[in-house]
Symmetry: D2
Subunit: 338 residues, 4 copies
Amino acid sequence: MVVVLQNNLSEKELENIKKKIRKLGNIEIREVKGDKYRILGLIGDTSSLDQKEITCMSGVEKVMHVQEPFKKANRILNPQNSVIDILGNKIGGKKLSIIAGPCSVESEEQIVEIAKNVKSGGASFLRGGAYKPRTSPYSFQGLKSEGLELLKIARKETKLPIVTEIMSPKLVEKFQEDVDVIQVGARNMQNFDLLKELGKTNKPILLKRGLSATIEELLMSAEYIMSEGNENVILCERGIRTFEKYTRNTLDLSAIPAIKKLSHLPVIVDPSHAAGLWWMVEPLTKAAIAVGADGIIVEVHNDPENAKCDGAQSITPKRFNKLMNDLKDIATAVGREI
Amino acid sequence: MVVVLQNNLSEKELENIKKKIRKLGNIEIREVKGDKYRILGLIGDTSSLDQKEITCMSGVEKVMHVQEPFKKANRILNPQNSVIDILGNKIGGKKLSIIAGPCSVESEEQIVEIAKNVKSGGASFLRGGAYKPRTSPYSFQGLKSEGLELLKIARKETKLPIVTEIMSPKLVEKFQEDVDVIQVGARNMQNFDLLKELGKTNKPILLKRGLSATIEELLMSAEYIMSEGNENVILCERGIRTFEKYTRNTLDLSAIPAIKKLSHLPVIVDPSHAAGLWWMVEPLTKAAIAVGADGIIVEVHNDPENAKCDGAQSITPKRFNKLMNDLKDIATAVGREI
Amino acid sequence: MVVVLQNNLSEKELENIKKKIRKLGNIEIREVKGDKYRILGLIGDTSSLDQKEITCMSGVEKVMHVQEPFKKANRILNPQNSVIDILGNKIGGKKLSIIAGPCSVESEEQIVEIAKNVKSGGASFLRGGAYKPRTSPYSFQGLKSEGLELLKIARKETKLPIVTEIMSPKLVEKFQEDVDVIQVGARNMQNFDLLKELGKTNKPILLKRGLSATIEELLMSAEYIMSEGNENVILCERGIRTFEKYTRNTLDLSAIPAIKKLSHLPVIVDPSHAAGLWWMVEPLTKAAIAVGADGIIVEVHNDPENAKCDGAQSITPKRFNKLMNDLKDIATAVGREI
Amino acid sequence: MVVVLQNNLSEKELENIKKKIRKLGNIEIREVKGDKYRILGLIGDTSSLDQKEITCMSGVEKVMHVQEPFKKANRILNPQNSVIDILGNKIGGKKLSIIAGPCSVESEEQIVEIAKNVKSGGASFLRGGAYKPRTSPYSFQGLKSEGLELLKIARKETKLPIVTEIMSPKLVEKFQEDVDVIQVGARNMQNFDLLKELGKTNKPILLKRGLSATIEELLMSAEYIMSEGNENVILCERGIRTFEKYTRNTLDLSAIPAIKKLSHLPVIVDPSHAAGLWWMVEPLTKAAIAVGADGIIVEVHNDPENAKCDGAQSITPKRFNKLMNDLKDIATAVGREI
């Protein structure tokens, strides 16, 4: 950590600042005096320092961190890619992970049919929303616990592990029992109480990047889960909010190589929610694999026109099959398989 | 709601779309045929329509909403400003509401002293964090329930109603008992489970705008609370995330007149979290009052340099007193009092 | 175009608005009366209407456009992809266009050597900055006209057409004579005087998207050039400004399928300026081709560490060769060739 | 400037980096060795260093600047507020500067009438667009040189100095002769060729912040003008582009105290273009004065409904008069006069 000081400090003020910093942790201080500023270089485990506590000391101009503030998620401390095994399906290895299914679970027929479809197309996980976060309280909020039951039926029929979103810490126990991968949605990426409770389970957590979260903040949210003991975290880029309105969000594919450099955790892409347009799913999926993602989570619906929510971003099983087929050569070209 | 259709639809396809739309609600349809597009005007209570369900119908190019999607929060249905009474202190009337206190509750001495300070300076509410949302799991997370107890002591000493943040639906019952105004932080603005549970209480809710939430989304989150029965919602602008990094967030003061036009709910401004810089609190507070806010929530700490969090954005009681004094003339100039 | 009116207008006010609208162009008006609003559907060539002139009429609540405001750039009017031929090299056809070279032209040895390198690696155009837009007036501003001369020497040696950036309308004549493709940089995307003058030439124009320009605005800037008679416009996505600071800009790859849907113009990607990090050039180039771009413009420098500007985002000729090689399979997978 | 190095560098690599840095300028280097990183503190006049040239050196992880990169615009070197005198009217002193007039000059009657109106309301400058930057080539582009002539007539009639926008370096000479304050619009904030030519004149330049320009970039653009010799620069905040679409742009009022801290240059606010909504002009103007701006530039039109452009954001002379009146108390409250 680098602390920039005003240049007109007295020796006493300077000593005072140093004393306060040393109280915050086992930190050594080196000093560099410039023309207009004085700089302190802090040495030691600065990830436990609270940057804000130093910023507010009188005489401190600004504080810049050199080391990343995350530890367990940091590639420096764990150079090998993490591979997460879910009922024999691995996320993060050479084989790409394909998670597919409808936005919402609507009925047994629907979810079982789609599950069979996506399995035969090449998916290795079934997604489907039971508890749905919706902007309007007047929109369909999901089938809730009934939806979970229907997902379990689909899992039984297809052997596909199920991935679904949790919205409340009150449901952690239930999800731990029923679900194979627990998804934390973009809106809850900094719902820290939820993250902490999920950190106490042993379930793989699919953590989606918040609409306005930096890559560092995403990794800090992973750290919340990991610091409680659960290191099975899968990250997901799903678009960020920008001024551009043609697409619902702006898919930030540069985040994939960035995350791969910073962290050992697997990272997948959600091309459906990013654009919000079904006809963009195909090119964005190809780009996601080409850029180095470990897989995708994609919305597939057997009747998008009558889907209960987000039909506009769902593709049909037929298109999904074709997409899986088209992906093979791209996967090979980047040293992966499907 | 206006539905734009492709121009090459057959009569049968057109009829099919109209039939589906009519099934969604008690809606009348008017049709306008242009050169390149065909337009359907939907008439009736379109706020219960799910725009996405129409967007995904085949032949639909785009859907534009004309009427706002919120009802209970809408000024059209409730032209008078809402005024919320909290132990005799009103928010939303002619008198400006000043909520002041430390970022975190740290000790009995600290919170009681600051409470007395801000009361004598002119505050009518005491703020203070007991449960703290922090980006890093390694940062101080607040004194939690002990913090609530200390707030209650400070309330007893000063008669100031207390305002503090809730982070989990598990704590709604406790907060309902202990707290006078329950704050929902920016990160939880779309924690819909929490909003719904708060909607079942009768407590005033201070709802902060999310970092990347539009004004419409903020009002839809208020609608979540109100649709469950609790209409005592106070909105708060506290800065949005933009490309500019000199300030922590960009305070969007245009949101105040916008919200005043769209909604009858009171709206206040948080100048401390917006900029993240104590020396900006004074000019931003003045601007907030000049632009028409119903009050402010501001961080005051008796020892900012040693504050447990966010000291850099806290002002001293002395500066707070001066600010309250300076505000008087501006309040008068815009027809308010302090 | 759809005009939303307040519902409390008198017949006279309504007639007044209609009369004014009819005066703006050859427009028919259809009316739809809803519960809370009244809607006018405008029929005819609304792209010449000025939305703002209607917005300010008293009684008008908002104006929403249905048809895109660009004409010559619109795919509706020109469904076939435009292919631009530059000295026998086509941009926009099956074969991908690779434009490569240094950020700045520094010396004859440098530019000739890099030109030979990138040609043997597979590039079909040479890029190189002679006039450099720099944030600071104290940074190196390019070799200017001497740089153009050096580019011409490199062209003579390698037969590669040259692509370089123009910054002032005063230089249009000179560039028209010296250069094969004239580049308009992101900062000048809405330098309308420059665009108009370029529209009067017959040179292919490489138009880069502005840092905060929407896709529609990019197409409107292309329209500026095309409306003056020059239809040889190549678009370029090079990253937009968002809150994320890990990369210099956020590469918006969704813009490629969006532009392909809206327009017939070719579109390429600049992976070097987007991220500002050389090690991201490889994955982002792969993603750009996978998503459907017609080519790339990439910075290659034989000595990045001593480059006069932007060395941090340049790759070596060796890496460039490898990248071209790796791209082949991805190109084939998406039906293109290299 | 602080240079962060990888920790695994050999002595030789380290020496190599230091040698290269020393070659860039008269710089001393101090070294701090941490656990995971090594840090170099550069001492001396680092504002002439090109951060990018250091970033690309092999072994360099990142470069952080401590000192601001602008010099002539920097308050450190010129602690007193700059006051600019234009025909006896001062910008930057105790008296607030009010610049008012129509978006476009439309006719002699129009501009003379509005000029008289705003003068009697309290304006000390007349604004009016002669050359108009418009997103669409099919929109009204201004009366051009004829517009300048009409402005001169209005100046003669009212003695108000005139402020109007330049779009091309080709017109600098003409504007220097005809105009009192030359405005550079948001889209041309980084049109560096234009800035340099304006730097060679002695005219006051009103420099508007670009839609996606940081405060630092705005000051660097001022530096372009000042480094050529013209120090008469007036800055203008006019809204930045964010995800929020209720207002056309998001007015960043925090930029005012930020600029006041960083620079000695005067700074005004444009409430009309920021929101794009006439009914927001009044509250935003009040907020601008309360936050510490040196004045405003505001659109006033005698017939907004029939204005040739941007009527939706113009206020009538009557509203302008009332606003000027209402501003008095706020001005006094913040120690200014009107």
